[in-house]
């Protein structure tokens, strides 16, 4: 089974797609970082005024909503990727090396994992 190496440079569209995947991977990291920001807030035990719970609530739910929005935007893009349209060209070699699983509904993923 000869695995053809993926091309070094991708078309502009594929390149965008890859970066979008990177963004999707980074999203939970950013989310976690943003959700951990409240750990830095004053609790009032160091003399300064404690952060109001309403402020905290607005912050947390705001970040939450932004994350959901980002995830929704990414899904919207991911939805457009066609079945056999893997990130490095429309006729991917991987599609042919997959052994078809007859007798079971095994839909190909909308986009294969990138091979970077």
């Amino acid at each position: 089974m000869s695995q053809q190496r993926p091309p070094v440079f991708l078309e502009r569209q594929s390149y965008r797609r890859r970066r979008l995947m990177d963004a999707a991977r980074l999203l939970p990291v950013f989310g976690a970082a943003l959700f951990m920001v409240p750990l830095l807030w004053s609790k009032g035990d160091d003399g300064g005024p404690a952060v109001q719970t309403s402020t905290a609530m607005i912050y947390v739910f705001g970040v939450w909503a932004v994350l959901i929005l980002c995830a929704a935007v990414f899904s919207k893009f991911a939805r457009r990727w066609r079945n056999n349209d893997s990130p490095h060209g429309p006729s991917s070699l991987k599609a042919s090396t997959m052994i078809p699983r007859t007798g079971s509904s095994h839909p190909r993923a909308h986009a294969d994992d990138d091979v970077g």
Binding site: G31, F35, M36, T53, S54, I68, C70, S75, H106, A109
Partner: protein, 895 residues
């Protein structure tokens, strides 16, 4: 006031509706209609199984106690879900390609289909599920008691016993819809649809109460924010450690909880649904937790001091006189509790039946022969039903033991921390090929043990499972082993303490043991398949179906999948093989596909074992393949050894051929020499005889003639004597009986003597070039023998040099205790093909030209050998060139 009877009636109607929905959905799915059942929306809503009664009741109580901290329970899953692209997506893909039936099945499949590991995960899941189910029962009982006694202080005994009946009802529902069929894909459309409906109800309930609180009790958003800030929980007081730990814990539990795995991976119809769920499920979580804080704050304001904050969602509408809202809220809590219990019981019962009951059943049956007797299907279903009942009974037992006193949130966190112990093995298995079975086993054991010791048992402390002395003084009296302050580190929050130590040590042990152990071949293959699931999804090993009987396979499949499904499957395969109307050939691909189908019902390890029983020894396991590879490696080694030997043999043959050639040559030379020597002996003999006859028979000879003839006879006898001397000399030299007369001398005089002896009487025209200064070299040797060698070499040059003006150059050199004497003439030298033979006895380069017997050089060689030196012929120096090498101090070579 709502009467308890009305409440029970509402419950029953609601449950009836759920039954109907589940029934209709199952039917639609079976008839192939109802595609909307497999929509991303239903999938997303089914994920809301994460929000249990803990959310409906406990979240408000949590918020009333600890402020905004409750939100971490939902932030964790949000992060896990928006990271679907590298996390959940892989999990779902692996789950689908390996046809896993539960999280225990996945772990087992990843680590080489190890059933031991599956049992471990099952037990872990069972133990951490028990308090969780108790929590649901407790919350339902709590809600009943609210309606029975709205101020929340007292609890009548018949309400307390309602927990038992609730447990029974849940068990019936779970059995009816969770174990009705043994679907190849282990999907339960009925249950999933009912759960989706319940998800809508619980969201609606909480939102309604929230909207009522914000716009009914308070005056809108601004007012409620003010009230929040004015309340006891109005300022940010969340503990840092708990905030981060619980977020992590919730994310881990979201992935590892058996019921989450069931709806997220096993019940997943289409991987693309994840795209929607990735943002829709976090949105659901956001909505469901949005009004928790307002409800808690208003509840704290409105309700009397000491009211249980866990029941605010019910008591608040009741106290405001909104009975319908209270009932809706009650239904929300009721549905979240029931859906959780049903799915969790289903998931865990699948694990118990596939990983504990079936292996035991199979091993008892294995002795009765190859074919499996009895209807396995019934056994599986029955074991699942019994497991469901057992799970619910355990939950009920825990509820009774713990007394239902603990706050809901803390029970939930105990369960979360327990199930999170699977995370290192799961994540390691998905992303790290080096993770081994031993590592996973060790990590799980350590994590589970620590969780048990630091969290679950102290949680049950008052009921006496962990003696008070252990809590106070540590295990075995070791102070640093106290369950609430391991290694003497005190002051940590109990949750943070337990989670930190159990997860850290779990991960550490998992990694270390994985690094030092070596995985079995099937583990490595499964590892490669699962870690690189996006690159290939090919089965790990092949069955050679040549011996497998299609009929046996069909019978077995019917027992597991059911007659219709199994026959349909075989029919399809037969059509594929173009053998319509007959049983399909058990090709390896078919057997493997069949095993995958079966593993959808009974788990990977069991299916493998069952197919193995029928296909028998003809299963080509990786071990077999490796054995074959080993054998061929041995063969290769053997053949390369053979090759080496044959090379050696051919080398030996070549040497033998050379030796034979030499022998033949020598034999030819000997023949030639014999004829030569007879000739040599004969010639003088003939003339001696002739002249002696003349002397005898001739009368009157002049004295001159007499003297001349006698002289000739004398000469000839001398010649004969010389020849015989040479022969004798050589034989003495060769037999080593020579005695050497060693003395000190210098090369110069020896050469002088040799030159004068060799040139004497030959009328020599040859000129000899010598460098006398270099000849003043002392040497200890047998001088006479050395002179003999020199004489021989010089007279050879004299005899054979064919130059018009023959000349001989003698050079003496000294190097590292060795003296060399080179004798070079200016003739044409010795032909190349004769050079090899020149030192052999009887060898003569040109047979007729010289008078010698061909013994000279052979004698030279023998002499020099005795003197510890050698003589060689040097090539390419113009004429013939001989080099004599001698040690300056000759030691007599010992024989």
């Amino acid at each position: 006031m709502v009467s308890l009877d009305l409440l029970i009636a509402v419950c029953l109607i609601y449950v009836a509706i759920l039954f109907a929905v589940a029934f209709v959905a199952d039917r639609l799915a079976r008839n192939g209609r109802g595609n909307w059942l497999r929509s991303p929306l239903v999938y997303t809503l089914s994920l809301s199984i994460y929000c249990t009664a803990w959310t409906s009741y406990g979240a408000v109580g949590y918020a009333a106690r600890s402020g905004l901290e409750y939100v971490t329970i939902y932030l964790g899953p949000t992060l896990a879900m928006i990271g679907w692209w590298w996390g959940v997506r892989k999990l779902v893909r692996v789950g689908r390609s390996q046809r896993v039936t539960s999280i225990a099945d996945l772990i087992s499949a990843r680590y080489g289909k190890s059933n031991l590991l599956a049992i471990g995960v099952t037990i872990l899941a069972l133990i951490s599920l028990t308090p969780y189910i108790a929590l649901q029962l407790q919350s339902i009982t709590l809600s009943f008691s609210i309606f029975a006694a709205p101020n929340g202080q007292t609890m009548s005994s018949d309400v307390a016993s309602s927990a038992f009946w609730v447990a029974c009802g849940l068990a019936v529902f779970a059995i009816l819809f969770g174990t009705r069929n043994l679907d190849a894909n282990e999907r339960h459309h009925g249950v999933v649809t009912a759960i989706a409906l319940e998800a809508v109800i619980k969201l609606l309930a909480l939102l309604s109460v929230g909207v009522f609180v914000v716009w009914g009790v308070a005056d809108g958003v601004e007012d409620i924010l003010n009230r929040i800030d004015q309340s006891d929980i109005g300022s940010w007081q969340v503990q840092d450690g708990r905030w981060a730990t619980i977020t992590f814990l919730a994310a881990a539990a979201f992935i590892c909880l058996p019921r989450m795995f069931q709806v997220m991976v096993v019940e997943n119809d289409d991987e693309r649904h994840l795209r929607t769920a990735a943002w829709a499920f976090p949105l659901y979580l956001l909505l469901i937790s949005l009004f928790v804080l307002p409800i808690a704050v208003v509840g704290l304001e409105r309700l009397p001091e000491g009211a249980n904050p866990d029941s605010f969602v019910l008591t608040l509408p009741l106290i405001e006189g909104r009975n319908n809202l209270a009932i809706l809220s009650f239904l929300g809590g009721f549905s979240s509790a029931t859906s959780m219990v049903i799915v969790a019981a289903m998931a865990v019962s699948t694990m118990i039946s596939n990983h504990i009951v079936m292996p035991i059943y199979l091993s008892t049956r294995a002795r009765q022969g190859v074919s499996i007797s009895g209807d396995v299907r019934d056994i599986v279903l029955m074991s699942r039903r019994l497991s469901i009942i057992a799970v619910l009974l355990m939950g009920y037992g825990y509820y009774r033991i713990s007394g239902g006193g603990t706050a809901l949130a803390s029970i939930g966190l105990i369960a979360f921390a327990g199930i999170a112990q699977i995370l290192p093995a799961l994540v390691g298995g998905l992303f790290w090929r080096g993770a081994t079975r031993a590592g996973a086993m060790a990590g799980l054991t350590v994590g589970f043990g620590l969780w048990l010791y630091t969290m679950l048992l102290p949680g049950l402390g008052q009921s006496g499972l962990l003696p008070a002395t252990v809590l106070r003084d540590g295990l075995f009296g070791f102070y640093f082993l106290r369950p609430d302050a391991l290694f003497g580190i005190t002051g940590m929050d109990p949750i943070v303490h337990s989670v930190f130590w159990s997860i850290t040590l779990n991960t550490a042990v998992f990694c270390i043991v994985s690094l030092i152990t070596f995985p079995s071949p099937i583990e490595r293959l499964q590892g490669a398949q699962i870690v690189n699931v996006f690159e290939h999804s090919v089965g790990p090993r092949g069955w050679t179906g040549s011996v497998a009987q299609s009929e046996d396979l069909l019978i077995m499949s019917q027992r597991i999948l059911g007659a219709t499904e199994a026959q349909a499957l075989f029919q399809k395969e037969a059509d594929l093989q173009k053998k319509a109307g007959h049983l399909p050939e058990p090709t390896p691909a078919f057997v493997q596909r069949l095993e995958l189908e079966l593993s959808g019902s009974v788990g990977a390890a069991t299916a493998h074992a069952m197919v193995g029983q029928i296909v028998g020894g003809s299963s080509v396991s990786v071990e077999d393949l490796l054995a074959v590879a080993d054998e061929s490696a041995q063969l290769l080694e053997y053949s390369s050894e053979l090759e080496a030997k044959s090379n050696e043999l051919s080398r030996a043959a070549a040497q033998l051929r050379d030796a034979n050639e030499k022998l033949t040559q020598i034999s030819v030379q000997k023949d030639a020499f014999l004829s030569q020597i007879s000739h040599e002996l004969r010639t003088p003999m003939t003339s001696i005889r002739a002249f002696s006859e003349i002397l005898r028979d001739t009368d009157g000879m002049t004295p001159e003639d007499k003297a001349r003839y006698a002289g000739i006879i004398h000469d000839e006898t001398l010649r004969l004597t010389r020849l015989l001397d040479d022969l004798l000399d050589l034989s003495v030299l060769e037999s080593g009986q020579i005695s050497l007369n060693l003395r000190e001398a210098r090369i110069g005089p020896v050469l002088d003597h040799a030159v004068s002896t060799a040139m004497a009487g030959s009328g020599g025209t040859m000129t000899i070039h010598r460098d006398r200064s270099s000849e003043d070299v002392p040497i200890t040797t047998d001088v006479d023998r050395l002179a003999q060698v020199f004489i021989n070499l010089i007279s050879n040059a004299q005899k054979y040099c064919d130059a018009p003006n023959p000349s001989l150059t003698i050079t003496v050199g000294q190097h590292a205790g060795q003296i060399t004497c080179d004798f070079m003439d200016n003739g044409s030298g010795i032909p190349r093909d004769s050079q090899a033979m020149v030192f052999e006895k009887f060898a003569r380069v040109s047979g007729d030209k010289a008078g010698g017997a061909g013994l000279g050089l052979a004698i030279c060689r023998e002499i020099l050998e005795r003197l510890g030196g050698q003589v060689i012929y040097m090539n390419g120096l113009g004429g013939a060139a001989f080099r004599v090498t001698l040690p300056a101090q000759a030691a007599v070579t010992v024989q």
